[in-house]
Symmetry: C2
Subunit: 368 residues, 2 copies
C-alpha cells in the first residue's frame, strides 16, 4: 500500500494518449479553485476562446465535456436526437460504429453508410442516403482512430446539402489535420484532449452551432442524459459571470491542463502544427513502406498523425510487448478483426517529432 | 494568450472541491501511460482495491467512473433502470431531486418521498411507499450536499426490506462519515473525488453489488448510455490483465491522483478519518451557534463535513465575496430557494482541520 507511484517513462506512439507537454502537467498542479470562483470562470472563458480558435469556429457554446472522447460523442448524439429521429452514420471503423450504437440507444432510426476499414466514406452515397431518409442529422468520423483513414469532411457537407445537421467526430483530428468547423458547415464537433492536443485524457472538447442549439431548444422530450444535457450545461459555460449556475463540479485541474495545452497549440500556430504533423507522418509512412509494411489506410486518405500498417509476413504482434517492455515504446494493435494483423502508430501533438519516428524505426529494425 | 496560469491560493471551505493534498497533485504529474499498458493496469487494480476498502465492500466491480460526481449518479441510475421500472427516490434537497430527474429521463416510473430541506428522509415512509410501488429500486442521498443533512442509510435498508435494490449517493459522504456498503446492503453506491477524498474533481468512484450486476445482465434493453454502460466498462476494469478490452481511454492522470488520495486515506485509517471529520465539524458547528448562526440541518442528523447555517439577521450573502476576495477563503451559498439565506461550509478531507475552522471563524468575526 505504501509503494510509491512510479510509472515508467514510455514513449507514447500508440493511438492515444500522446506524449504530454511538461508545462501541461505543471499547470495541472496549480492551486485548485472552486468551480464558481470568478478567477476560475476567467480561466473557463479563456479556455473556451482558445477552443474556438482551434476548432475554427465562432460558436458561443464551445467547451470541454467532463469526460473522455466517447463522452463527447455521446453528448453530441443524445442532445441532437430524439426517439424516432432519422440519422445517417458513416461507418468505416470502430468509431463510426460506436456513434451508430449510441444513436440507436437514443432511440433514433439509424441508417449506416459503410465503407471497408481503411477506406473512406463515399460522400456522394452518404448524400443520397441522407436525402432518401430525410435525415435530421448525418454523422461521420473525420479521423478514424481504428484505421488511420481521413475522411474529407468538406465534401460531406457539399453532398448532403444544407438540410441535415452535420456531426463530426474529430477525436484524433483536432490540432493534427485541418478542421474548419464554421467554413465546412459542421453543427456539432467533438474531440479529446489526449490526441493531437497533448493533454492527458479526461476531457472532450465540443462545439455546437446555433442551429444545433436551436434543435436542442425545440426538443419535445428532455435529453435522455442529465449529465450531458447542454441546455443545462450552457448555463454554466456561457452565461455572464454573475449568473453562472452550477451544473456539475468542473474537473478543475484537467481544465488547467487543457488551458495550457491550447496555449501551446496557438503559440506554435495551428497551421504550423498541421504542417508538422503532415511532415512527420509522411516521413514515418515512407520509412515503414521501405521496411516492407503495407500501409493500411487508402492512399491519399491517410492521416499523418495516426498510421496503420499491416504486419509484414513473419512479423508477430507480440513484438509490441518487446517494444514496450524492453524499449519503453508504446504502439497500438489492431481492433476487431484486425487485432493481430495491423499496428497503429500515433505521432500526435508533442510526440509528432522526427526524432520519435526515427527512434521507433530503429527499434523496429532491431527487433524485427 | 501568453499570460501564465496563476490561480490564487484559496482556502477551499465550500461544498467541494476541498483542499487537495500536495502529494496528490504531484502524483498527477507522473508520466502518462497508455490505458492498456500492463503497468497502468496494475495501478488500476490497486486503485480498485483501495476503493473497496474505503467503500467497505468486496464488490468486484468497484472503480472510478470517468466523469464528475453526477456522472456517477447517472451511471447508477441508467444501468439499473429500464423504461417502466419503478423506483422510489428520497428527496430532501438538490441531489435527491437530481436522481429523480435522471431516473425520469431513463423512462422509469419515479415516486418521490420528500422531506423538507435540512430534514432527513423518513425511512419508515420510504419502506411503505417502496412496498406499495413494488419498487425495483430505492435511492437515497446519504450526505445531502445542498443542506448538510445526514440520512442514516442503515435504517433505510431495514425499512425497505431485502427486495429492492438500494442506490446510495455518497458524493459528500465517502471518507467523511461511516459508510458500510456491504454491511448495510447497498447495491450501488457512488461518490466523487473532490469531497472527503481530497482529490481534484473529475472522477466518480462507484461500486456495484453482484445482485446489481445481475440486474444489468438481465436487462431486456441495452443501457441507454453507451458511455456509462457497465456491462462494457467491466471488461476494462475487471478482466484478467491479458484480456482487458478497451472501452474508453481512461483519464490516466486523474486516476494517479485518486491512487494517491486513497493511499493517504488508508494510511491515516478510515475510522480515524471519520473521527477527525466529526471532531472538526462539531467544533465548527459549536462556534457558529455561539456566533448567532442557526444551524440548518436537523439536530442529530448533521454532517460534520458539510455544515449549513442560516445567515443571522443583518448578515448579507455578499460577505462571501469579501471572504473570497480579501481573505482567500471560499465558502458556499445556498441553492434553490435557500440562495442568499444559508451558507454551506465544508471541512472535508485534507481541509478538515481545526486550524481551518479557526481561520474561518476569525475571518467571519472580522467581516460581520
Amino acid at each position: 500500500m505504501k509503494s510509491p507511484l512510479t510509472p515508467p517513462h514510455r514513449l507514447l506512439l500508440g493511438p492515444g494518449p500522446s506524449p504530454v507537454e511538461p508545462s501541461v502537467l505543471r499547470a495541472m498542479t496549480k492551486p485548485v479553485l472552486g468551480h464558481l470562483d470568478p478567477e476560475f470562470i476567467r480561466i473557463m472563458d479563456q479556455t473556451a476562446e482558445r477552443l474556438r480558435q482551434v476548432f475554427r469556429t465562432r460558436n458561443r457554446l464551445t467547451f470541454p465535456i467532463p469526460g473522455t472522447g466517447s463522452a463527447g460523442m455521446e453528448a453530441a448524439v443524445v442532445n441532437i436526437l430524439e426517439p424516432g429521429d432519422s440519422i445517417v452514420v458513416g461507418v468505416n471503423g470502430v468509431f463510426g460504429a460506436r456513434m451508430a450504437d449510441a444513436a440507436t440507444r437514443a432511440g433514433a432510426a439509424v441508417t449506416t453508410v459503410e465503407a471497408p476499414w481503411g477506406a473512406i466514406i463515399d460522400a456522394e452515397e452518404l448524400g443520397k442516403v441522407a436525402r432518401e431518409q430525410n435525415a435530421k442529422a448525418v454523422a461521420v468520423v473525420q479521423a478514424e482512430t481504428s484505421t488511420g483513414a481521413h475522411t474529407p469532411v468538406e465534401l460531406i457537407r457539399r453532398e448532403i446539402g444544407p438540410g441535415p445537421l452535420l456531426i463530426v467526430d474529430s477525436v484524433t483530428g483536432l490540432g493534427g489535420v485541418p478542421l474548419e468547423v464554421d467554413k465546412w458547415g459542421i453543427d456539432v464537433c467533438f474531440s479529446a484532449t489526449q490526441m493531437c492536443l497533448s493533454v492527458p485524457p479526461g476531457l472532450a472538447p465540443i462545439t455546437f452551432s446555433s442551429r444545433a442549439l436551436q434543435v436542442v431548444a425545440d426538443r419535445t422530450m428532455p435529453v435522455q442524459s442529465w449529465y450531458f444535457d447542454v441546455s443545462m450545461i450552457r448555463q454554466y459555460w456561457e452565461d455572464g459571470e454573475a449568473s453562472r449556475s452550477y451544473h456539475h463540479t468542473a474537473p478543475i485541474s484537467m481544465i488547467y491542463g487543457l488551458w495550457e495545452g491550447l496555449r501551446l497549440v496557438l503559440e506554435e500556430g495551428l497551421e504550423e502544427r498541421w504542417n508538422r504533423h503532415r511532415e512527420v507522418g509522411e516521413f514515418l509512412q515512407g520509412e515503414l513502406a521501405d521496411m516492407g509494411f503495407d500501409l493500411f489506410a487508402a492512399e491519399d486518405y491517410r492521416l499523418p498523425q495516426l498510421t496503420s500498417a499491416r504486419l509484414p509476413p513473419g512479423v508477430k504482434d507480440d513484438l509490441r510487448q518487446v517494444l514496450l517492455n524492453d524499449m519503453d515504446i508504446e504502439i497500438g494493435g489492431g481492433l476487431g478483426e484486425y487485432a493481430g494483423k495491423i499496428w497503429r502508430i500515433g505521432l500526435m501533438g508533442f510526440g509528432a517529432r522526427k526524432e520519435n519516428a526515427l527512434r521507433l524505426i530503429q527499434a523496429l529494425r532491431a527487433v524485427m
